[in-house]
Symmetry: C2
Subunit: 137 residues, 2 copies
């Protein structure tokens, strides 16, 4: 859109961003980078506004499958903490807030059709609420 | 049900079954074993009669996420060939029938809640229709 030029001086953008797979999970929110915003735009949410998310440990173990809405994906991108949408509780669910079993997200991938997401994570403690490392154990 | 005793002599059951993770993908249909039937019964299908299925290569690479109905799961269990339900074509879809990129399924797992399935596979050729090894490449 053309119009008045933006007054960029007021809110300077950070000059560099660490690549997606190099960021630690500080839990601090920060603005989305351009690559992250593009990644988010590639995701096609279903009729409920949700997308299935696979969480995979860095060693290759598939830990769980859960669901995310746009807000959960954005929170994960901003904070690098695995965040989902709980369909049963109907609320945003940041993994580990209750159990302490947090997920540091080291990479986020979207599949070729945009209808599935993969979080590569470093999982603290078991991922499964039954105490197993993986929900598929 | 009580009644006339079954005439078992006509159709003898196979005496032994190879364990789930030891079977090759002959593509031949065979009766479901008791363990397989139990596994199938643990799966909770959603309101569309579907469950998300993760296909993972034996080396840990997540290849794709697709969907299965009960028929697709049963076909996978019987034939050890990765079989799904195509939501776009609304038909059973045995991976590789068109592309030749078949999936030999060496293990099938159901998650703790019964609402996600994992096929461990040996993938021939690329899993992704774009020619990539994984849809998450």
């Amino acid at each position: 859109m053309k119009g008045r030029p933006e007054r960029r001086a007021r809110k300077a953008r950070p000059k560099s961003r660490a690549p997606l797979d190099k960021l630690g999970a500080s839990g601090k929110a920060r603005p989305l980078g351009r690559g992250e915003a593009r990644l988010l735009d590639r995701v096609k949410l279903d009729e409920r506004g949700l997308v299935p998310v696979i969480a995979q440990e860095e060693d290759g173990t598939v830990l769980m499958l859960a669901w995310a809405n746009r807000e959960a994906l954005e929170a994960t991108l901003r904070t690098r903490r695995g965040t989902y949408w709980s369909r049963s509780r109907r609320e945003l669910w940041r993994k580990g807030d209750t159990s302490g079993h947090v997920q540091e997200v080291t990479a986020i991938k979207v599949d070729c059709d945009g209808d599935a997401v993969l979080y590569v994570v470093r999982q603290t403690g078991p991922a499964c609420h039954l105490g197993n490392r993986s929900c598929f154990s």
